[in-house]
Point group: C2
């Protein structure tokens, strides 16, 4: 079984339509490349108890949990308090984070800036101090900022921690629509029940009508299923293949 | 209290990083414009029982629920079965949808195509038959296809059903960072506890460091809070305002 993951996007700005979340798509592509099975993404408001409930459930249900957003010095940055609430611990200042902040701000240090040193009690720091610094980790929950560039730099630095056996993918672009290929796909799944098989129609595209995706962690199994589907498709229906 | 909404994005293609979901951002902007409070977005796999659990919870927790994806004739289109499962009813063919499909396909009608007539028992059809046809609605759950153009055309046709009192928004772009403005924002919220106040830092931007958003359904209250914040910000820190 592949390791599983869940993503919790924290931010009123996403729910109110001001910002398009791009972090979950970035992480979903990375996790797929790493062979991790992303099972769930949720977008929730900046509310401590709600974050706590969500984090506790995700932490129980998935191997890896990633939160994004709500990390900063202002009133609406309540992710650390939310994660702490979810695990029934206090928020404390991490001594390494505090020392770095005091070095950086010198005489301009203040209570708001020191909030950036806060973590749930028991959290570790993962990764090094280059550029944006390490990622706070509480049990299996990795806590990321919401700014895409910061998230991407930090994730890139620690991504090998999550590497699993890869997924293999093959794609078929079909000129025939789903009304024709549906029964062929059903027959294929009887023969290959463990195949991950997707069927994605497009409209207003003169090129193809359906994109079929076949995936497996077993490249031999995938090859057999792919050959079977190629031979079952109607003559002339396959525009091109990938993978 | 504003009416609330939740969005359920159904699709393995989003979780596996093949497709970036844009439907939730489109709907989040539309709902904000309509004055509806979007409380939660979730992305889940094409699995009947999981869809059922999610739909039942959302239907109980929110006034309006929107699902996208998993509507079609192939094996991975299980949204109708999932919604039916969530409400403990069967999937049935809707007679109006079946008649239209038989008219459209004539002698080429088949079992796969007739799956497009399936709805949870008790579902109504909302909207008219222009272009992509009406939206199946089960209790407070509106069931949309995942193709963005189809979703947008169908939502546009019925959007006035959801109109509430509007949100009013004002924006301040600050040259000072969050470390400076945090305590000013805290003071503002003591005086205006019902204000929706957001603080969004940017990096690598020579123009401004933080975007502050102030919102309320009461324009007079918003104006008072806005004036208060303008007068509390440090001299020269405001680059520009909007709203």
């Amino acid at each position: 079984m592949a390791k599983t993951a869940g993503i919790i996007i924290i931010g009123n700005e996403v729910l109110s339509g001001k910002t398009q979340d791009t972090n979950s798509h970035y992480l979903s592509k990375e996790l797929r490349t790493l062979g991790v099975d992303l099972r769930r993404v949720v977008v929730i408001p900046d509310e401590i108890e709600l974050i706590g409930r969500e984090v506790a459930a995700f932490s129980r249900d998935f191997d890896f949990v990633f939160t994004t957003g709500g990390v900063g010095p202002t009133h609406d940055d309540v992710t650390m308090a939310g994660v702490a609430c979810g695990f029934g611990v206090k928020v404390v200042r991490h001594p390494d984070l505090e020392r770095r902040l005091r070095e950086r701000h010198g005489a301009n240090i203040n209570e708001a800036r020191l909030r950036m040193a806060e973590v749930p009690e028991g959290a570790e720091l993962i990764g090094d101090w280059s550029i944006y610094g390490p990622v706070p980790k509480m049990r299996n929950v990795y806590i990321f900022a919401g700014i895409p560039k910061v998230l991407q730099d930090r994730f890139s630095a620690i991504r090998e921690l999550f590497r699993e056996a890869p997924y293999y993918l093959k794609v078929i672009y079909s000129r025939e629509g789903e009304g024709v290929v549906a029964s062929i796909l059903n027959d294929l799944l009887v023969r290959f029940p463990d195949l991950m098989l997707g069927s994605y129609p497009v409209i207003d595209n003169p090129d193809y009508r359906v994109k079929l995706t076949l995936e497996s962690k077993d490249p031999g199994y995938l090859e057999l299923a792919f050959e079977k589907l190629l031979s079952a498709m109607p003559a002339g229906s396959i525009l091109r293949t990938e993978g």
